[in-house]
Amino acid sequence: MTRIDASASQLLLFIAVVLLITFTALAALCILALLVIRARRRLLERRRAAQTARLRSDLVAIVDGEEPEASEAAARLVALRGRHWHRADELLVGILPKVRGDAKDRVRAVLRSRGAEERAVAQLGSGRAAERCRGAFALGAMGAEDATSRVIELLADRSPLVRRVAVRSLGMMQDPAAAEPLLQAANKPEAVQRDLVQALIQLGAGAAPVLRARVLHLIAHPDSVDRSAPAAAEALGFIGDVASARILAAAVDGGSTALQLAAAQALGHLDVPAGVPALQRAITSPVSAQLKLAAATSLGRLGAEAAIPELLHAVEDGGPSVSRTAASALLSLGPAGRDALARSSAPYAVEALAVDAMRLAP
């Protein structure tokens, strides 16, 4: 019995030792594998960083180098193949929205010589949303006018991300033909108005007739639900379309609340007096404090001395926001506005003058 116990103990000890050695060996192997994987990853990262540094150096030379340095750098990039070209392509497309003039033309020429436009158009038909986004962005960055209609189609894409990239790309493409489709997209419930307005602004003066027509349409049909007209009005202001001043003034007088607000803000960006009477009426109208705020800001921006009585009335009778904004507008009119504030005993007039005096103090 004792001999059997001793044998069993020895066997157990043997098994324990074997297990210990096995686990130790496995642990050592695991650690070794981890070290190898980490070292390999570091090596790949270093290689990738070195390759990116070389590519970036060529990229900078293409954008702004002198000849023959620029041509040599372009030839090196164009000769790349496989994943090396893929990385170069990413860098080239990425830099396009950041530069303009000759610099942009040079980068575009390198991309076109490698058929980047055709590839981007092909990406638009991909089943993967990320690929469609890449294609749309590349076409926008390259300003590929021939592909405008293909990117417009993406405004109805099933993926909201693709639709958003399409809006931005159309802005970068600066083709006025995109104005109408972008305005239609503004009426979709998920539309990001900020992106749409920015894209419409980028389209520039060529898009102004379409934008004016959209504002006029909503003035004629004030009860219709149309989110595109306020976006159009806002864009007209930033584009600086002086010809739309009377239309925007009419919108301040008779548009929907959102259109009135956008038109009042837009008039402040147009350096013409045509909108001043409508803004004077808006600041005294009881309709909305937001409209009064926008009107006061725009009157100050326009330097409309004719509106001093209305602005002073707003300082004396408005709520805190309207009164302060109107006082600030009066200060921006210069001595005439300052004198008007000095004649008033309203708390916000006194406050504005005191703050202004502190600002001017040495």
């Binding site: 990229l59 900078v60 954008v63 702004d64 950041k98 000759d102 921006r301």
Partner: protein, 122 residues
């Protein structure tokens, strides 16, 4: 040759600006954010700072104000390099102490001309 500091969180823009200005013969230092730039300027003031407006942490406006408030940096001129070019943004930049604006997307050649113009002002 002038001592110029470039502050932009965008690597592409930083490299392009440095490349152009070094080629123009300037001594250029680049920083990815406003705090690093202020530290660099404290060690060695510069003749000109080219500053991006929208940066994480300290904005370009904040950095311009900090430069203007530091007597040791009174000789540093400031050019804002920014996509924010609305009237109100320009006013804010000039109020913060900017001497000039260069809009993004930018042209390296135009930047070079503006740098020379700002540096030549008395």
């Amino acid at each position: 040759m002038s001592d110029i500091v470039v502050v932009d969180d965008d690597t592409d823009i930083r490299e392009l600006v440095v490349y152009r200005l070094e080629r123009d013969g300037h001594d250029v230092r680049a920083y990815p954010d406003g705090v690093a730039a202020l530290e660099g300027l404290a060690e060695r003031p510069a003749d000109l700072a080219i500053v991006d407006v929208m940066m994480p942490g300290l904005s370009g406006f904040d950095l311009a104000r900090a430069i203007r408030q530091d007597a040791a940096l009174s000789g540093t001129r400031i050019i804002m390099l920014t996509a924010r070019t609305q009237e109100a943004d320009l006013a804010q930049g000039y109020a913060a102490g900017a001497d000039d604006y260069v809009p993004k997307p930018f042209s390296p050649r135009e930047l070079s001309l503006r740098v020379n113009a700002v540096l030549s002002r008395q």
